[in-house]
C-alpha cells in the first residue's frame, strides 16, 4: 500500500503548532523588548521628585521654662535663616535639616539634648543661653570635636577650639559702660550696686567689674545674687535703697527681670537717678515688661532694633514677613543670625561640613556685614568683634542709643586686670595660662 506522501513529509507550515507559534511569538517579543527597551524607556521614571541629601544641625534653645522668654526668638531667627539657605539651594548641594529639642531651661538637660543631636549626626550646634548651659555642653563638643556657635554675651574667662563665641565679652559691653557711667555724660556715678542671678556669668562679670573699678573713685556699695527663678525682688530693692547706690549693674537673667523692674517701679525709684544698667535684657525681652516699669532704664547691647543700617532694615523686614509684623528683635537674635550665616559662609569656603575644615576657615578670618554693623570672628580667640552700644529704654519699650563705640571692638576674653597672665591665641599655640584666679575670693 502506498504511503500517503503527507504522512512522511509534512506540508510546508503544517509543523508550526499553536504552542510553537506562542513560543516563537514570546521569544520574538522578548527579543524586541530587549532591543528596544534602552530607547523606549530612556528618561522614564516613576516621577518621584528628587530630594537633596540632608545635613542636620542642632538648635539648642530653651522653649519652656524661665529662659524661654529670650531664647525662643533665637530659634526662630536660626530657622528663618536655614529656610532661606534651603530655598536658595541649600549648602554645598545639601538641604539643611534643623532640629530644635527643648532643654527646658534646665542646665542638666542641655548636654543631654546636645548629645542626642550629635548622635543623630548634627554637624554643628547653635545655641545655649546661660553660661552654665554653655559650660555644661562644652566638654561634650570638645570630646566629640564638634562646633558650638554661642550667640549670647558672656563673662569671658573662657576659650575653646570647639566654640565660636558670637556675643560680647566684658571689654565690649560692661567695661566701656562703666567708664561712660563714671563720666560727665553718664551722670558721674560713684556708687555702684552689683546685682545678678546666682550663676557663673553674673559672678564672673562682677568680679571683672570690681577689678576694673579698683583704684577708681567708684565704690561698689553692694553685691547681691538671687536664684534664677526669683520672682520677688522687694528685699533686693530695699537693700539697694539702703546702700545709697546711684547705679545698679544688673546681670539678672531670664524672666526674673520682669519682677525686678516691677519691684523697682513699685518702690518709686527714679531711673534717671538710679538706673538699672542691664546686660541681659534686650528689646525682645523688654516687650514682656510693662512700659511704665522699664522706661528710662539703661541697656547694654551691641544691637538695638533702632540701629539704622540697611542690613538691619532688610533683616527685620524679611523676618517679620515670615513671623509677623509685631515681632521684636534683640542683641542675641542678631548674633544668632550672624553666626549661622558665618557658618554657612565658612562651610562653603571650606567645601566641607567637617569641623576641622570649617575651623580652618574661621582661623583664617571671616566676617560679614550684619544688622548691627560689621562682625568678624577674631582668629586668635574665636570670639566676635562687636560694637558697644548703651541704650535708654523709651516708653514704647524700644531703645535710643545714648552712646556707642566708633566701630567694632576686638574681643578680650581675659582682661588683664582680672586675669593677669592669661591669654588666648589659637593662631600661636592656643591658651596661655596665668596664675589661677579665684572668682569668689
Amino acid at each position: 500500500m502506498p504511503v500517503p506522501p503527507n504522512t512522511l513529509s509534512p506540508r510546508p507550515g503544517a509543523g508550526l503548532s499553536r504552542r510553537g507559534a506562542l513560543r516563537s511569538g514570546a521569544a520574538a517579543t522578548l527579543a524586541a523588548a530587549r532591543l528596544l527597551a534602552p530607547s523606549l524607556f530612556v528618561g522614564c521614571s516613576l516621577g518621584i521628585p528628587p530630594r537633596a541629601p540632608k545635613v542636620r544641625i542642632g538648635l539648642l534653645h530653651s522653649q519652656t521654662g524661665p529662659l524661654a522668654i529670650g531664647s525662643t526668638s533665637l530659634r526662630d531667627v536660626e530657622l528663618d535663616a536655614v529656610e532661606r539657605f534651603n530655598a536658595a539651594g541649600g549648602i554645598l548641594g545639601y538641604s539643611i535639616d534643623p532640629r530644635a529639642p527643648d532643654p527646658r531651661s534646665r542646665t542638666d538637660l542641655f548636654p543631654k539634648r546636645a548629645a542626642t543631636l550629635l548622635d543623630e549626626g548634627a554637624v554643628a550646634l547653635f545655641g545655649c543661653w546661660s553660661s552654665a548651659s554653655r559650660k555644661a555642653v562644652l566638654p561634650l563638643v570638645e570630646d566629640r570635636d564638634s562646633l558650638l556657635f554661642y550667640p549670647v554675651q558672656y563673662e569671658g574667662n573662657e576659650s575653646s577650639r570647639n566654640v565660636i563665641y558670637g556675643g560680647q565679652v566684658p571689654n565690649q559691653q560692661v567695661l566701656p559702660a562703666l567708664d561712660w557711667l563714671r563720666s560727665g555724660p553718664g551722670g558721674e556715678r560713684k556708687k555702684f550696686f552689683l546685682l545678678g542671678s546666682d550663676y557663673v556669668y553674673p559672678r564672673t562679670t562682677n568680679f571683672v567689674v570690681r577689678k576694673w573699678l579698683a583704684g577708681t573713685d567708684v565704690e561698689v556699695v553692694g553685691e547681691e545674687y538671687v536664684p534664677l527663678d526669683t520672682e520677688d525682688f522687694t528685699f533686693v530693692v530695699a537693700r539697694i535703697r539702703e546702700s545709697g547706690a546711684d547705679c545698679v549693674l544688673n546681670t539678672v537673667n531670664g524672666a526674673g527681670n520682669i519682677a525686678l523692674h516691677a519691684a523697682f517701679a513699685e518702690a518709686g525709684i527714679d531711673p534717671a537717678k538710679v538706673p538699672l544698667v542691664s546686660t541681659s535684657v534686650s528689646e525682645d525681652d523688654l516687650r514682656s515688661m510693662p512700659a511704665a516699669d522699664v522706661a528710662g532704664h539703661l541697656v547694654l547691647s551691641s544691637y538695638f532694633q533702632t540701629v539704622d543700617t540697611p542690613a538691619n532694615v532688610a533683616w527685620m523686614a524679611d523676618f517679620r514677613r515670615e513671623f509677623g509684623e509685631d515681632r521684636v528683635f534683640g542683641d542675641s537674635m542678631e548674633a544668632a543670625w550672624c553666626l549661622i550665616n558665618l557658618w554657612k559662609a565658612a562651610v562653603e569656603q571650606a567645601g566641607s561640613f567637617a569641623t576641622e575644615a570649617v575651623r580652618q576657615v574661621f582661623a583664617a578670618g571671616i566676617g560679614l556685614d550684619g544688622p548691627a554693623g560689621r562682625m568678624t570672628i577674631d582668629p586668635a580667640t574665636q570670639h566676635a568683634t562687636k560694637h558697644f552700644r548703651l541704650g535708654r529704654v523709651r516708653s514704647d519699650r524700644l531703645c535710643d542709643v545714648v552712646v556707642s563705640s566708633d566701630g567694632p571692638l576686638a574681643p578680650d576674653p581675659y582682661p588683664q586686670v582680672a586675669f593677669p597672665g592669661w591669654k588666648c591665641d589659637w593662631t600661636k599655640g592656643g591658651l596661655q595660662r596665668g596664675p589661677e584666679v579665684s572668682i569668689d575670693g
Binding site: T64, T72, P101, S288, D326
Partner: protein, 264 residues
C-alpha cells in the same frame, strides 16, 4: 502595612494608579502564560468543571467585592476623619488666637506669637514629615510652651476670668484634636486585612487562570478583571494613610489661619 510601600506615596497619582494596574495585569498575564497551562490540565480532565469554576468565582467575587468595598469605605472614612480633625484643630487654634488677643500684653502678645509659631511649624515642618509617615515631635514642645504660657496668666477681673476659662477650654480642645491628628499619621488598615485582601485578589486571579477559554479571550477578560482589582487596591493603598500621597489631607486650614494671623 505588612511591607514598606512608602516610596509608592511619592509617585504622582496618575503614575501610581497606572503602576498598580500595570502590576496586576502583568501578574495576570504572566500567570496566564506560565501557570494556566498547568491548571488547564486539571480542568480539561474534568468536563463541566468550567461551569463549576464560574459558579465559585461568582460567589467568591460577591464576598471579595463586599470586603473590598467595606475596606475602601473604612479607608475613606479614615481620610475624612483625619481631615475633620485637622479642620477642628485649626478652628480651635483660631478661636484661641481670638481669645488671647484680648489678653493684656505682654501675655497676649506672647501667646499670639506662640500660636503663630505653632501654626507655622505645622505648615512648614510637621506637614512634610507627616507626608513621609513620620510623627512630628517638635510640635509638642510648641504646644507645651503655649499651654505653659497660658497657665502663667492670672486673671484679675471677672471679665478676664471668663475669657481665661474659655481660652483654657479652647486649648484643651485644640490639644485633643492635635493628638488625634498625630494618631492618624500612622493610622492604617491592620496587617490581617492587607493579607486577606491580597490573598483574596490572588485567589480571584487563580480562579480566572483555571477557565478553559481561548488564550486571547483569557488575556483580555482576565486582564480587565486584574486591572480593576489593581485599581481598587490602588484606591485603598492611597487612602490608607491620610497624610501621604498627592491625594491627601492638606494643610490648607492651617495655611489660611496663618495668613489671617499675619494680616491681623
Amino acid at each position: 502595612m505588612p511591607f514598606d510601600l512608602s516610596w509608592f506615596y511619592d509617585i504622582p497619582t496618575a503614575r501610581a494608579a497606572l503602576l498598580m494596574v500595570g502590576a496586576f495585569v502583568a501578574f495576570y498575564w504572566a500567570g496566564a502564560v506560565i501557570v494556566r497551562p498547568i491548571l488547564r490540565m486539571f480542568v480539561r480532565r474534568a468536563p463541566g468543571l468550567n461551569d463549576l469554576i464560574g459558579y465559585i468565582l461568582s460567589c467568591f467575587c460577591v464576598f471579595y467585592g463586599l470586603l473590598l468595598g467595606l475596606i475602601a469605605v473604612t479607608a475613606y472614612q479614615n481620610v475624612e476623619s483625619a481631615e475633620q480633625n485637622v479642620t477642628r484643630e485649626a478652628a480651635a487654634l483660631s478661636a484661641l488666637y481670638e481669645d488671647v488677643s484680648r489678653y493684656p500684653d505682654p501675655h497676649g502678645q506672647d501667646l499670639r506669637w506662640l500660636i503663630r509659631d505653632y501654626t507655622r511649624y505645622v505648615i512648614k515642618y510637621a506637614w512634610p514629615l507627616q507626608q513621609q509617615g513620620i510623627i512630628p515631635e517638635e510640635g509638642t514642645i510648641r504646644a507645651e510652651a503655649l499651654f505653659d504660657r497660658l497657665l502663667d496668666f492670672e486673671p484679675k477681673t471677672p471679665g478676664d476670668q471668663i475669657l481665661h476659662a474659655e481660652a483654657l477650654r479652647q486649648i484643651n480642645h485644640f490639644l485633643e484634636c492635635r493628638r488625634l491628628r498625630l494618631h492618624s499619621v500612622r493610622a492604617g488598615l491592620p496587617r490581617a486585612m492587607w493579607i486577606v485582601m491580597f490573598v483574596g485578589a490572588f485567589f480571584n486571579i487563580l480562579l480566572c487562570w483555571m477557565f478553559d477559554t481561548r488564550f486571547l479571550t483569557q488575556l483580555v477578560l482576565g486582564g480587565i478583571l486584574a486591572a480593576y482589582l489593581g485599581l481598587m487596591m490602588y484606591l485603598i493603598v492611597d487612602m490608607n494613610q491620610p497624610f501621604r500621597g498627592e491625594v491627601s489631607v492638606s494643610s490648607e486650614a492651617f495655611e489660611m489661619l496663618f495668613q489671617r494671623m499675619l494680616e491681623d
